[in-house]
């Protein structure tokens, strides 16, 4: 994935992304905050925060929140949102999340929502999240999750890339699980859910051209004609809904025992 492509797309579409129904889904924001267990004592870092929806929701619950994102456009909208809501305990930093510029053990909680599928170097990002978290603190990821069936997964990966050029890969549940296993964290919970996305609303959450709309429509027709793929769609009130699986996973950063003084080689 071309990092410049991600930046360009999100800079260009920041205002639109901010108003997208999924970005502002209060029920999902509340659910994630509850799952993380945000408390008034928390100093929370939101990684790849976009226009700051989760950070701003959490700012009403936590002592302080910091959001970081690679897109200056997204950060500008997040800062404006914080100012409009009078949230003085929220700050937003324009930064590449592959190299989080915070001291070790800075935050009590580090969260990333709906962003890992944009990341080519997700292991580096996660290692940075753990590094910035205090021992005993919570590290949480929520993101879409790959389908189990290879054919279905391949189809929807094609669809994701057509809709959103900044999509890198939808990770599997096992991918998320292994991040925790391999990074000094104790897994506490792994929760799978299903989200029903309005397909056409999702297509419009990023700017499309006539060409991309045509390609998406052709691929959609192909999918709806195949019962294996079509089973991941549903129709309700004239809307086409896409059944998207979501993984929410959290763990605690383990406390590393200090080496006895004098130990050496």
């Amino acid at each position: 994935m071309n990092t410049r492509l991600v930046i360009a797309q999100f800079d260009e579409g920041a205002e639109h992304f901010d108003s997208w129904s999924v970005t502002r889904d209060e029920r999902m924001l509340r659910g994630l905050a509850e799952f993380c267990g945000v408390t008034p004592d928390d100093e929370l870092l939101d990684v790849a925060c976009g226009t700051g929806a989760f950070a701003l929701h959490s700012a009403t619950l936590a002592r302080s929140v910091t959001g970081v994102d690679i897109s200056a456009g997204m950060i500008a909208v997040a800062r404006k949102n914080a100012s409009d809501r009078g949230l003085g305990n929220a700050r937003f930093v324009h930064q590449n999340v592959e190299g989080l510029g915070f001291e070790d053990d800075t935050f009590s909680m580090v969260v990333s929502r709906s962003a890992f599928h944009h990341m080519a170097r997700h292991r580096e990002v996660f290692a940075g999240m753990v590094r910035c978290c205090r021992p005993g603190g919570t590290v949480c990821i929520q993101d879409i999750m790959a389908y189990d069936e290879e054919k279905t997964d391949r189809f929807f990966e094609r669809m994701e890339v057509l809709i959103d050029r900044s999509h890198h890969r939808t990770y599997t549940k096992r991918d998320f699980f292994e991040l925790y296993r391999d990074n000094d964290t104790k897994l506490e919970a792994l929760f799978e859910s299903e989200s029903l996305l309005d397909f056409h609303d999702y297509v419009d959450h990023v700017a499309q051209t006539d060409k991309s709309r045509g390609e998406i429509a052709r691929l959609l027709d192909e999918g709806l004609a195949d019962p294996d793929i079509a089973s991941s769609f549903a129709e309700k009130d004239g809307r086409l809904l896409w059944k998207r699986r979501v993984c929410t996973i959290k763990g605690k950063k383990t406390v590393q025992p200090r080496k006895p003084s004098g130990e050496g080689y």
Binding site: K173, F177, L187
Partner: protein, 85 residues
């Protein structure tokens, strides 16, 4: 713990603590999360209930398997853990 007693205890927890009403639509086999009957915070309460009240030791792989979504799934899981499977 006998199976019927175990199932009743878990059912009571879900009815009283998670406010689940079991009926013709919501049965012991219903995926309660997919059906929207309970939410992610309730998942944490189920895990806590199993660990603290039923003394079930959960491994990372247990958490990975995500079987704690229906009454019957939870009962089967606890039964297997108690049998040392």
């Amino acid at each position: 713990m006998q199976t019927d007693v175990l199932e009743q205890r878990i059912r009571t927890f879900m009815q009283e603590e998670l406010l689940v009403t079991f009926d013709d639509t919501v049965t012991a086999d219903t995926d309660l999360f997919k059906a929207g009957v309970v939410e992610s915070r309730d998942y944490l309460r189920i895990v806590k209930f199993l660990q603290e009240d039923l003394r079930v030791a959960m491994t990372d792989e247990d958490l990975f398997m995500n079987v704690l979504v229906s009454l019957s799934g939870i009962v089967d899981f606890v039964r297997k853990k108690q049998a040392g499977v």
